[in-house]
C-alpha cells in the first residue's frame, strides 16, 4: 500500500506510451499529415498561432497534431518552443491600411470607399450539418472573389477622425524604439495600453469573449459599434541597420477590429467617439471583436468613466487572460497535496474535538 507513491518513473513512461497510442487512434485509418491540418483546419491553426504569439502555420499544425486537437495544449507546446527562440529584431509597425483585404465590413456606414467585402465568412451560413462533406472526394468549385488591393480602402475610423468626431491615436514618439515585451519582462501595474493589447492579443479567446460579452450586458457598459473589421495579408518589414532601409520579410494574415464608442466629453475634451482596438493573427474575428470591446472597457479610467465591471479592471483582466497560465494552475490541483491535506486533517480534527468537548460541557 505504501507502494502507491513508488514507481513513479515507470508509470510516467507507461502513460506516455499509452498517450502515443491514443493519439494515433485506429491504425487502419490514415494518419493525419501536417499539410492536411494546416490547409483544412486553418482556423484552429490560426488560433494556436495567435495565442502562442508565434506565426508558423507548420509548427502550429504539428502542435495541434501532437495535442490531439486540444487547442490550449497546442498553444502551450508552441509557446514552450517560442521561448527558446532568439529575438533578432522588432519589425516596423505593420500598416493595416495597406492590407491586401479579403474581408472588410463596417456596421456604421452602409457604403464607403472600398466597399463592403464579405470574404470567406461563416456569418450567413445556415448551421445545417453538410452531409456532403462527410463523403470525401468532392471537388470544390472556384469561388468568385473580390480582388485584393483594388482601389483605396481607407480605414473607416480615419473618415470620422477627419471630421474631428473620432479621437486621434497618438503614434508612439519613436516608432523604432524598444517595444515592450511581456514575455521578456514581468508585468507590473498599471501596465498601460500597449502591454494590455499585447496581453490580449495572446490571451485566451474564450476569456476575452466572455469579458467582452459581460460589457454588453451591463458590467461596464459602453455601447460599441463595429466601426470596421478587416482581414487579409499585410507585409512585415524589418529595418536592417547595415542597409539603412526597411525590407519586406514576408506576409502574415491578420484580423483587425476597430470599435466606435461614445465618449461624453469632459472639462477639457468635447464629446467625441473613442476607439476600442483588437488585432489577432490569422482569421480570428470573434476574438478581435471581443478584444476591441475589452480594450475600450479597460480605457475607463483614462476616459474618466466609473470602473464597475471586471472587464474594466486592468489587473483582473491581465492577470487571468493567459490560458497557459490558467490551465497550469487550475490543473496543478491534481498534483499530490498529501502534506497540506494531512496538516488540514489534523487541524480540522483538533477543531472538531474542541467543539465536541465544549458541546459536552
Amino acid at each position: 500500500m505504501y507502494v502507491a507513491v513508488k514507481g513513479g518513473e515507470a508509470a510516467i513512461d507507461a502513460a506516455h506510451a499509452w498517450l502515443a497510442e491514443e493519439r494515433r487512434g485506429d491504425p487502419s485509418v490514415a494518419e493525419l499529415g501536417l499539410d492536411q491540418i494546416r490547409e483544412q483546419l486553418g482556423l484552429a491553426v490560426d488560433r494556436v498561432m495567435a495565442e502562442a504569439s508565434l506565426h508558423d502555420p507548420d509548427l502550429a499544425a504539428l502542435a495541434l497534431k501532437q495535442a490531439q486537437g486540444d487547442v490550449i495544449e497546442a498553444v502551450f507546446l508552441l509557446r514552450a518552443y517560442r521561448t527558446t527562440l532568439p529575438r533578432l529584431a522588432a519589425s516596423l509597425p505593420v500598416d493595416t491600411a495597406k492590407m491586401a483585404v479579403e474581408r472588410r465590413i463596417s456596421a456604421t456606414f452602409k457604403d464607403l470607399p472600398g466597399g463592403q467585402i464579405l470574404g470567406p465568412t461563416y456569418d450567413y451560413t445556415h448551421r445545417l450539418l453538410d452531409f456532403a462533406l462527410a463523403a470525401e472526394g468532392g471537388e470544390v468549385p472556384a469561388a468568385p472573389k473580390a480582388k485584393p488591393g483594388e482601389g483605396a480602402m481607407p480605414r473607416v475610423l480615419e473618415l470620422l477622425a477627419g471630421e474631428g468626431l473620432m479621437e486621434r491615436e497618438a503614434p508612439p514618439e519613436d516608432e523604432t524604439g524598444p517595444v515592450p515585451d511581456l514575455t521578456r519582462e514581468p508585468l507590473s501595474f498599471p501596465a498601460g495600453r500597449p502591454l494590455r493589447l499585447q496581453a490580449m492579443a495572446r490571451g485566451d479567446e474564450g476569456f476575452l469573449l466572455a469579458l467582452g460579452y459581460s460589457t454588453q450586458r451591463g458590467y461596464g457598459r459602453n455601447h460599441p459599434f463595429a466601426g470596421e473589421i478587416r482581414q487579409g495579408e499585410v507585409s512585415v518589414e524589418v529595418e536592417v541597420p547595415e542597409l539603412g532601409f526597411a525590407i519586406d520579410i514576408g506576409d502574415i494574415v491578420l484580423t483587425e477590429c476597430q470599435s466606435v464608442n461614445q465618449f461624453k466629453g469632459d472639462a477639457t475634451r468635447p464629446a467625441q467617439f473613442t476607439r476600442g482596438y483588437g488585432l489577432v493573427f490569422g482569421r480570428g474575428e470573434r476574438k478581435a471583436m471581443a478584444m476591441a470591446l475589452v480594450d475600450r472597457a479597460l480605457r475607463a479610467e483614462e476616459l474618466g468613466e466609473a470602473v464597475q465591471g471586471p472587464a474594466q479592471d486592468e489587473e483582473f483582466v491581465l492577470s487571468h487572460a493567459d490560458n497557459v497560465e490558467a490551465s497550469g494552475f487550475v490543473q496543478h490541483l491534481k498534483l499530490p497535496h498529501y502534506v497540506d491535506f494531512q496538516a488540514e486533517l489534523q487541524l480540522v480534527r483538533a477543531l472538531r474535538a474542541k467543539a465536541l468537548k465544549e458541546a459536552a460541557e
Binding site: R82, V324, H332, Y338, V339, D340, A343, L347
Partner: protein, 285 residues
C-alpha cells in the same frame, strides 16, 4: 550544450540565467522581499514548479548533485518528472539522499535531515504573496509591503483565535523574515516552519507563473507570526512512523483498507529509509 543536444545546459539560455541570477542576488540582499523577474515559459506547466525549475536551472552547475522532492518524497510523479528534466537537459548527478545533494528542489516540505552551508534549498511557490487571499490586488499588496503595513494579517490571525480558539492555518503559515518582510514560506506544513529560521543553507523561492523570486539567506531569523498569549506551536498527530518508528518527523496518513484502517508513515522518504537502514545495521551488529 547539454546531454540532450539542441538546448543549452539546464535548458535556459545564459542570458536568461543571468537575468534570474540578478533577481536572486537582489532577493538575497533583501531577505523575504518578492523580486519581480522575467519568468520564462517552460516546457512544464505553470503551477507545476516552473519557478523552482528556473531558479534551479540558474544556480545549477555541472558539478552539482540534485535532489528533487514533492511532499517530502523523491518518487512522487512530479518530482520524478522534474529530476528527469534536469538529468536530461543538464546531465547532472541526481540523488535521493539529502546529505549527498548540493541543490534540493522541493514542493511542500523541508527535509527532516538538517541542511548544511553547502546546500541550496529551492522551493516551488504557487502564490508568493502572503497577503493575496486578504487583498487580491498586486498594486495594493506591494504598497502594503513597502509600508510594512501587515495589520490585515494580524487581524486575520486574531479573528481565527477569537472564533476558533486557534489560528486556522495548517500550511503556508506566514512568517516575518529578518524582522522586515511578511513572507510566504510556500505551502509547507507549519510543522516545517521552525526549520526556516537560522538555517545554514541558502533558501531560494521561485514562483514562475506569478513571476517572483525571493530568498532567505543562511542564518536568517524567521519568525512565524503569533501573539504573546498564543505562541506559535507545531502540531503532531501523536503517532510514531509505522515503518521507522520516528516520533518527531512529519507523517503522512495512509488508508490501508476499506474499514477505515490507517497507518502513519514519514512523509520524508529519505529520512525514513535512513532510519530503517540504521536500525537494520544495529540489528545486524
Amino acid at each position: 550544450m547539454s546531454a540532450d543536444s539542441g538546448y543549452n545546459f539546464a535548458y535556459l539560455d545564459e542570458q536568461t540565467k543571468r537575468m534570474i541570477r540578478r533577481a536572486l542576488l537582489k532577493a538575497v540582499a533583501v531577505p523575504g522581499y518578492q523580486v519581480p523577474f522575467a519568468s520564462r515559459e517552460m516546457p512544464l506547466p505553470y503551477g507545476w514548479g516552473t519557478g523552482g525549475i528556473q531558479v534551479t536551472a540558474a544556480v545549477l552547475g555541472p558539478e552539482d548533485t540534485l535532489k528533487v522532492i514533492d511532499q517530502g518524497a523523491d518518487d512522487t510523479t512530479n518530482a520524478v518528472s522534474i529530476r528527469r528534466f534536469f538529468a536530461r537537459t543538464a546531465g547532472v548527478a541526481t540523488t535521493t539522499r539529502t546529505i549527498e545533494a548540493s541543490v534540493i528542489q522541493t514542493r511542500h516540505r523541508i527535509p527532516e535531515t538538517p541542511l548544511t552551508e553547502d546546500q541550496i534549498l529551492v522551493y516551488q511557490v504557487p502564490i508568493p504573496e502572503p497577503l493575496r487571499w486578504l487583498e487580491p490586488r498586486e498594486a495594493e499588496t506591494r504598497a502594503l509591503h513597502a509600508l510594512g503595513d501587515y495589520g490585515v494579517m494580524q487581524v486575520e490571525l486574531y479573528e481565527d483565535i477569537a472564533i476558533h480558539g486557534k489560528i486556522k492555518r495548517a500550511y503556508d503559515y506566514p512568517v516575518e523574515v529578518a524582522g522586515r518582510y511578511l513572507t510566504s514560506p510556500s505551502p509547507i506544513p507549519k510543522f516545517d516552519n521552525p526549520k526556516l529560521s537560522d538555517c545554514p543553507a541558502l533558501q531560494l523561492f521561485g514562483a514562475g507563473r506569478e513571476k517572483r523570486i525571493y530568498a532567505i539567506p543562511p542564518y536568517t531569523a524567521v519568525r512565524s507570526l503569533d501573539f504573546e498569549d498564543h505562541p506559535f506551536a507545531v502540531d503532531h498527530p501523536g503517532h510514531p512512523c509505522a515503518i521507522c518508528g520516528d516520533t518527531d518527523s512529519f507523517l503522512d496518513e495512509i488508508v490501508i483498507d476499506d474499514a477505515g484502517g490507517r497507518i502513519f508513515v514519514c512523509s520524508d522518504t529519505d529520512h525514513c529509509r535512513e532510519r530503517q537502514e540504521g536500525q537494520a545495521h544495529e540489528n545486524a551488529a
